[in-house]
Symmetry: C2
């Protein structure tokens, strides 16, 4: 058993992000992350499976929060209303850490393996939302469509928020993007161009 | 230089798919694929980088066809109209091969590496459609949102079509799914539940 270390997990995450930005993800070792955090590699592995998982440690919690919000929507809520509540929950969890999110985003963008891992995370989120909608009695293909559309909004809104020049409210950006998707899909000439 | 082999690429693809379904993707070797096709491994590598790429050989062409259709949309077409034409082009390319698509889909579903590769393909398609929309003068976030929504429709419609009990027209399923997304996004209580 190691000594008790106050917020070891947070310190490791902070140290890892600093090193990934300074040296690049590939060039950073677990030993260096632990050293920067004033901890041992053994402590690192108590919290994270490897140096990649430091960047994805919150994924399961994010998915839980989103699914819980979706399932807690009023019975009268439409599928996209329920998905909107899931997006609100995501914004509540992620919205306070724009600087962290920006650095994380830049580290991920620079590495093909990390980009793949992020795609898998989003696909898993989409599948979890679709399952949640099915449990609410939404039939397919509506459940899959609403979930995929929600993740499309999530992706675009998150990117907008992370890279915006001025800081803004993530929940607000999510809502605007969802409204914008509604406007875009309504702007169709269902016969004219096809 | 090898002998000229009529439709070597098609024979290799056919042989590969048979073996992937019979034995599983991991258990199949390039030598076995070539043998089944009556060709040599050397001929295989003239067409495909590895046994995974047999399943993704059409990806670039699909992307080109979709982007060309999107760019060829009338000036008056809305972003989602242009995306609809890209979906029509995808249906025209893929719609005649339901049995092949079904087998491909089942092989991919059974293997984590292939699922990742498929996610990357879809992300790349989405980025290419967004770029095409930007070249049409569509600003962000509309370009990204319309492209992501189009890919969401593609995914859901393709899956529906592949696994439908009766054979149906892929273009028709794509159009219905796009209409259904429009209906879903319109069914929102913009204030009530949030």
């Amino acid at each position: 058993m190691g000594r008790w270390e106050p917020d070891a997990s947070g310190r490791l995450r902070q140290a890892a992000m600093e090193l990934y930005v300074e040296r690049g993800f590939e060039q950073t070792t677990v030993a260096e992350i632990a050293q920067r955090a004033g901890l041992t590699a053994r402590t690192f592995f108590r919290y994270f499976a490897d140096k990649r998982e430091v960047l994805f440690a919150g994924s399961e919690l994010l998915q839980e929060e989103m699914v819980t919000a979706l399932e807690g929507a009023p019975v009268s809520a439409s599928p996209m209303d329920a998905v909107g509540l899931a997006l609100d929950a995501a914004a509540a969890m992620l919205g306070g850490r724009r600087e962290y999110s920006r650095r994380r985003q830049s580290v991920i963008a620079a590495n093909a393996d990390l980009r793949e891992r992020e795609l898998i995370k989003m696909a898993s989120l989409s599948a979890a939302l679709a399952d949640g909608l099915r449990r609410r009695g939404v039939a397919d293909p509506d459940a899959s469509l609403a979930a995929e559309a929600g993740i499309a909004v999530f992706r675009v809104a998150f990117e907008r928020w992370v890279y915006a020049r001025r800081s803004s409210d993530l929940a607000q950006v999510m809502r605007e993007s969802l409204d914008q998707l509604t406007t875009l899909t309504a702007q169709r000439n269902r016969r004219g161009t096809r």
